[in-house]
Amino acid sequence: MKAKILVGAHYGLKDWIIQRATAVVMALYTLILGIAIIAGGADNQESWRGLIGNGFFRFVTPLFILSLAYHAWIGVRDLWMDYVKCTAVRLTLHVVTILVLVGYAVWAVQIIWRL
C-alpha cells in the first residue's frame, strides 16, 4: 500500500492563510473597539452594555470570537506539533484544545447575544 505523503508544497498553506486572515479580522476589531472605548464607550456599565449590545457590535464581536478561536487553534496546534513528539499524547492534546476552544467560543457568543 502506498503511504500518503503528508509533507511537501502547499500542505498547511490553508491554515497559514487562515491564521493571517483571522489576525487581520482581530486587529481591525481591536482598533474599532479601542476607538469606541476611548470615545467613552466603557465609562460606566450602562455605556459598556450599550456599546457591546448595539447592532454593529452584536454582529462583529462573534466574528472576532470565531477568528480568535480558529487563530488560537492553529497557534496552539503548532506548539504541540513543535514540542510534543509522542503521537498519542499530541493527538489527545489536539482534541482537548479543539474542545476547549469550541466551548470558549460558544460561551463568549452567549455572553454577547444575551444582552
Binding site: T30, Q45, I52, A72, G75, Y104, L115
Partner: protein, 130 residues
C-alpha cells in the same frame, strides 16, 4: 568507528551567544500567545461579570481592583499588545515589507518599545493617573 569517538573542537561560548532582537520578538510572540490562551477562561469570566447585573458588575470591580488581578491584567495587556504589534510586523514581512536585516532589526525594536509603551499608558490610565 574511530571517526565518531574522535574529539572535535567546540567553539560554542554559550555566555556570548545572544538571540538577535527579531528572534527575541518572535519567541515573545509565542510566549504571549500561550499566556493569552491560558487566560481565556479568566477573561471570559470578567467579560460575563462586566456585562451582567449590577451585583455582578460590583463583583467585576472588586476582582479588577485587587492588586494581584491588576498585575495579571497588566501582564495580559502587554501580551495582547505585543502579540498585536509583532503580528502586524509578521504580516508586513509576509508581503516582503522591511525584510532587509537593518529594517527588520529596527522594526523588531519598534515592536518591543511600542507594545511596552502602550502597556504603560493603559496601566497608568487604569490606575487613574490621568
Amino acid at each position: 568507528m574511530p571517526e565518531l569517538t574522535k574529539q572535535r573542537p567546540k567553539y560554542l561560548a554559550i555566555n556570548e551567544i545572544r538571540l538577535p532582537v527579531p528572534g527575541f520578538v518572535s519567541i515573545l510572540h509565542r510566549v504571549s500567545g500561550v499566556g493569552l490562551f491560558l487566560a481565556l477562561p479568566f477573561l471570559l469570566c470578567l467579560l460575563q461579570l462586566s456585562l451582567g447585573s449590577a451585583a455582578e458588575f460590583q463583583t467585576f470591580k472588586a476582582i479588577v481592583g485587587h492588586p494581584l488581578a491588576k498585575l495579571v491584567l497588566f501582564g495580559l495587556c502587554w501580551a495582547y499588545l505585543h502579540h498585536f504589534c509583532a503580528g502586524i510586523r509578521f504580516l508586513l514581512l509576509d508581503v516582503h515589507v522591511g525584510i532587509e536585516k537593518e529594517q527588520a532589526r529596527a522594526s523588531a525594536k519598534g515592536v518591543l518599545v511600542v507594545s511596552l509603551g502602550l502597556t504603560v499608558i493603559v496601566a497608568l490610565k487604569f490606575l487613574g493617573v490621568f
